[in-house]
């Protein structure tokens, strides 16, 4: 997927929309900041999240960060290959390294998310 076709949260998750399904990953910018990623924990299928809630953890040699839900809904799929192939996050952050899929309760929430150009500006100004 091209980043220009994706939505972004200020907390560095990306969202791809197809109908009421949202595929979620983390941005290339976030992966670069984290450096070597050593561990990823994912939620169980069927778990429900509100925007801003922690869905899982991503751990690098530097720090442990939360993965926040960018939209409201229920987890319908997780990328089970990913925790054992964390290099995919560096190699293919927008395709093979998708993290999970959420069936959205309310697709109108997307207005809270940024487009790619807005997200890039956010990354430039964000103090991390």
């Amino acid at each position: 997927m091209k980043p220009s076709e994706l939505h972004f949260a200020k907390t560095h998750e990306w969202v791809a929309i197809e109908g009421d399904m949202a595929t979620i990953g983390i941005s290339e910018f976030a992966v670069k900041l984290l450096t070597d990623i050593v561990y990823l924990s994912l939620p169980a299928i069927g778990k429900k999240f509100s925007p801003g809630e922690s869905m899982g953890e991503i751990e690098s040699v530097k720090a442990v960060s939360e993965i926040y839900a960018p939209v409201q809904g229920e987890v319908t799929a997780i990328n089970e290959q990913l925790p054992d192939n964390l290099a995919l996050l560096n190699e293919s952050p927008y395709d093979q390294a998708w993290i999970l899929k959420i069936r959205m309760a309310d697709p109108s929430q997307l207005s809270n998310l940024l487009n790619y150009a807005e997200y890039q500006r956010h990354c430039e100004t964000a103090t991390h």
Partner: protein
């Protein structure tokens, strides 16, 4: 007592240094007619424990051992080889904590790495941390860890036979939380798995089981663990650190987290502290585990070295989301335990556990011969049991102390109202150090006190 090194290797080294083959070569200058040519007329060598006891006996009424110790309740008077003090008091080791620049102290890290390895072997569990402060906080940290694992914050089920002080530590930790502590009732000294099935549900984060329990009795840990797992809860075992020498290892019960008070493994009785918290878990939960973890790796020159692992989860990096506010360990006591376990080995530990059990059985048999004295609970026990007498236990224990026996603690001290007749009950604990004469003397003293 000092520790004297005398291994065959060391003898060889000394003989080589002075250039002779064997010790007898030193005596060749003595004319053969004047040589003894037989062994000295001495009794056979005794064990280190027997030697210690003999020396204390010969010192007579000095104040080395003013009272004979039958105290239990979580801290026990077990044998400690002299080598434990010898090694831990060395200047290179003698510090209380992992230093702040931990990797600069490779010797300390290696000792804790060995500690973790020995504790994993002792328990059969996948992972041990580098220790926590003591058994009570280890129980509380285990409950918090269970909450991080399954996200259940509503309820914790604790055995009514858990050490009352561990329960109080839990209550302190949970004082400002909405979590409900559900007590599984003890019936005749143990938890009946059938009774507590209905008390563990989809809101329960974990069940906390002692083995043996505070009364010394053995719990059906495997059945209780199954109940926890069926409800999606974790099973936390608070085991006696000496017990794996005779009983099943914690991992054999299929528990998820196993914790213990480590004092019996090489730390003397010293007015209740300092103590050592043993903390182990399954590998899949290692990232939720509190405390420090030492790993073995190689440096940039390819040489073996030791480093702190999973530090990204500690509070200096992760602030409020850290696994625990404990970022250090009980360094000196973990070192004592390392030396202790490495010295006694699996066979020594098994001997200690077996002797303690046998002596406890003998003591229970003798003490209950006095009319009116009985075992409070008819259950299998390990090295400690609960006695009921016709008189208030505070009076009985004070009278026994006056006769030179430290026995207890009594249930009155903990106001344990979940036991009928608690005012008249006290614990008696036995270790391999107690002799037949001491046990028999206690039985006579108890009889006199109750007359």
């Amino acid at each position: 007592m000092p520790y004297l090194f005398d291994t065959p290797d060391q003898r060889r080294h000394m003989l080589d240094a002075i250039g002779i083959q064997q010790i007898d070569d030193l005596f060749t200058q003595i004319p053969p007619g004047l040589q003894l040519n037989r062994e000295l007329n001495l009794p056979p060598a005794v064990s280190e424990l027997e030697l210690q006891q003999e020396m204390e006996r010969r010192l007579g009424n000095s104040n080395i051992s003013p009272k004979i110790c039958f105290l239990g309740g979580g801290i026990y008077d077990h044998f400690i080889p002299a080598v434990v003090d010898e090694i831990t008091s060395r200047g290179e080791f003698y510090t209380a904590y992992t230093p702040y620049q931990a990797e600069a102290s490779q010797g300390t890290l290696q000792a804790f790495y060995e500690y973790q390895t020995l504790i994993s072997q002792l328990t059969g569990m996948d992972v041990s941390n580098a220790s926590l402060y003591e058994g009570g906080t280890a129980v509380s940290e285990a409950v918090f860890m269970a909450m991080r694992i399954n996200g259940r914050h509503q309820k914790v089920a604790i055995a009514g036979s858990l050490h009352p002080e561990y329960k109080r530590v839990l209550q302190t930790y949970f004082a400002r939380l909405d979590t409900q502590l559900v007590e599984l009732p003890q019936l005749n000294g143990v938890i009946d798995p059938e009774v507590c099935r209905g008390l563990v549900d989809s809101e329960t984060t974990a069940i906390v089981i002692p083995q043996p329990n505070f009364f010394g009795c053995l719990e059906d840990v495997a059945a209780l663990t199954k109940i926890a797992h069926n409800a999606g809860a974790l099973s936390i075992l608070a085991f006696d650190a000496i017990s794996p020498g005779l009983l099943k290892k914690p991992a054999d019960y299929d528990v998820d987290i196993a914790v213990a008070e480590g004092q019996p493994l090489g730390t003397p009785l010293q007015y209740g502290g300092p103590l050592l918290g043993i903390f182990t878990c399954r590998n899949e939960y290692v990232r939720k585990m509190p405390g420090r973890l030492i790993g073995k790796t190689t440096d940039r020159k390819g040489k073996e070295c030791f480093a702190l692992n999973l530090q990204a989860r500690e509070q200096h990096i992760r602030r409020d989301k850290a696994t625990s506010n404990i970022c250090t360990n009980q360094g000196l006591l973990a070192l004592r335990t390392t030396v202790f376990l490495a010295t006694v080995g699996p066979r020594g530990l098994s001997q200690m556990a077996t002797l303690s059990h046998q002596k406890a059985r003998y003591a229970a048999e003798l003490l209950t011969k006095t009319p009116g004295v009985c075992l409070k609970f008819q259950q299998p026990f390990f090295r400690e049991f609960l006695i009921q007498t016709p008189k208030p236990s505070t009076e009985v224990l004070a009278a026994l102390a006056a006769k030179g026996f430290n026995v207890g603690p009594d249930l009155a001290r903990f106001k344990m109202q979940n036991v009928d007749g608690w005012q008249n009950c006290f614990l008696v604990a036995l270790t391999e150090k107690r002799t037949r004469e001491e046990i028999e003397a206690l039985a006579v003293a108890l009889k006199t006190v109750l007359q």
